[in-house]
């Protein structure tokens, strides 16, 4: 077991099962995002939580602007974790760009994964008329990166320290800081660029691992057309439109998220057993 990887990516392993279920966070947060969903799978799975290098409580000294300039560097994080924990045939659950990163990892080493569950995935955020509607114009994405450069989150954290003024109760501040998912602003900007300016549409045809796409209603980041596009191109993919709105169903609608993942895993397990 490679201890360095486990520390580098702040890997946490829980659960009573033997089959691995890896939860991968998306842009702008960390493994904490899975707190309402992951525990539901601890009874039957070996639950793996981690932070990508540059996020959460990962080892920031392992961050390299070259390695993490595109999503392949992040995919290597996933493969390193699989290697360190000797994981094969895992259920990989990824949120947003986390699911695209898992998809890239599965193209490199398919035997590591049995199923991919993708929450709000998008292979390309930019519109590419006339055939592809990612939902964003270049100006939209540049505006978003610009807002990140203003570092509102850093300001919010600083102000929260000033305003809270409860030095005898440091847990209050810590909770607030974690709720903002503060990250190094330089790393966050580079991750945002790697995320929002990526185009992995051509990789979709190379995916061999079966997948479930969970599409949110009314999601300004990954619109319904994008989820349907992925479903149409990905081999052996299932598609479910959620009642959940927004882009973070694992936080806003954890019960629905748990139910749809469980139902999918149960249905494919039934299929596998009836096929002998």
């Amino acid at each position: 077991m490679n201890q360095n990887t486990l520390i580098r990516n702040n890997v946490n392993v829980t659960g009573k099962g033997t089959k691995a279920m890896i939860f991968a966070h998306g842009f702008g947060c960390d493994q904490n995002m899975w707190r309402l969903v992951a525990p539901a799978f601890e009874e039957n799975f070996r639950v793996i939580l981690f932070d990508y290098v540059g996020s959460g409580k990962s080892d920031y000294s392992a961050y390299s602007s070259t390695k993490y300039q595109d999503l392949h560097g992040y995919a290597q994080d996933v493969l390193d974790i699989c290697d360190a924990l000797d994981i094969n045939d895992a259920i990989f659950v990824g949120h947003s760009v986390g699911s695209i990163i898992g998809m890239l990892a599965s193209i490199q080493e398919p035997t590591r994964f049995e199923r991919l569950v993708m929450l709000g995935p998008s292979p390309c955020f930019l519109n590419d008329p006339p055939l592809y509607k990612g939902g964003f114009e270049k100006e939209d994405l540049e505006g978003l990166i610009g807002m990140m450069e203003m570092n509102y989150i850093g300001w919010a954290n600083y102000l929260s320290q000033v305003i809270m003024k409860n030095p005898e109760r440091p847990e209050l501040f810590q909770e607030l800081e974690e709720s903002f998912c503060s990250t190094d602003p330089t790393v966050a900007r580079q991750f945002a660029t790697a995320t929002f300016f990526s185009d992995h549409r051509n990789d979709l045809q190379n995916v061999t691992v079966p997948s479930l796409i969970l599409q949110c209603s009314d999601d300004a980041i990954a619109p319904i057309e994008v989820g349907k596009y992925m479903h149409s191109v990905l081999t052996d993919s299932a598609y479910a439109l959620m009642e959940a709105t927004g882009h973070c169903p694992h936080l806003s609608h954890p019960e629905e998220t748990i139910r749809l993942i469980s139902d999918y895993l149960k249905s494919v397990a039934d299929q596998d057993s009836s096929n002998g």
Binding site: F27, G28, F136, E137, E139, D140, L141, E142, G143, L144, G146, M147, M148, Y152, I153, F180, C181, D219, A220, I221, T245, G246, H247, C248, L251, S252
Partner: protein, 62 residues
Amino acid sequence: MDEQLDFAPCGYVSLNDDSTILDINQTLLGLLDYNLQELQGQHINLILTHASQTFYQLYFFR
């Protein structure tokens, strides 16, 4: 709304869990060039650019 808050030198808006605008002060209405009836009960996205909607969804609406 409290008059001091309504005409405070900064914008003020309150939302419910569905991102619906519950209340918004005169200062912000003036900045945005809307009246109260146009925004109260509407989704916050109505007053945000696409880039800001994305930022809001990433960091705020969780």
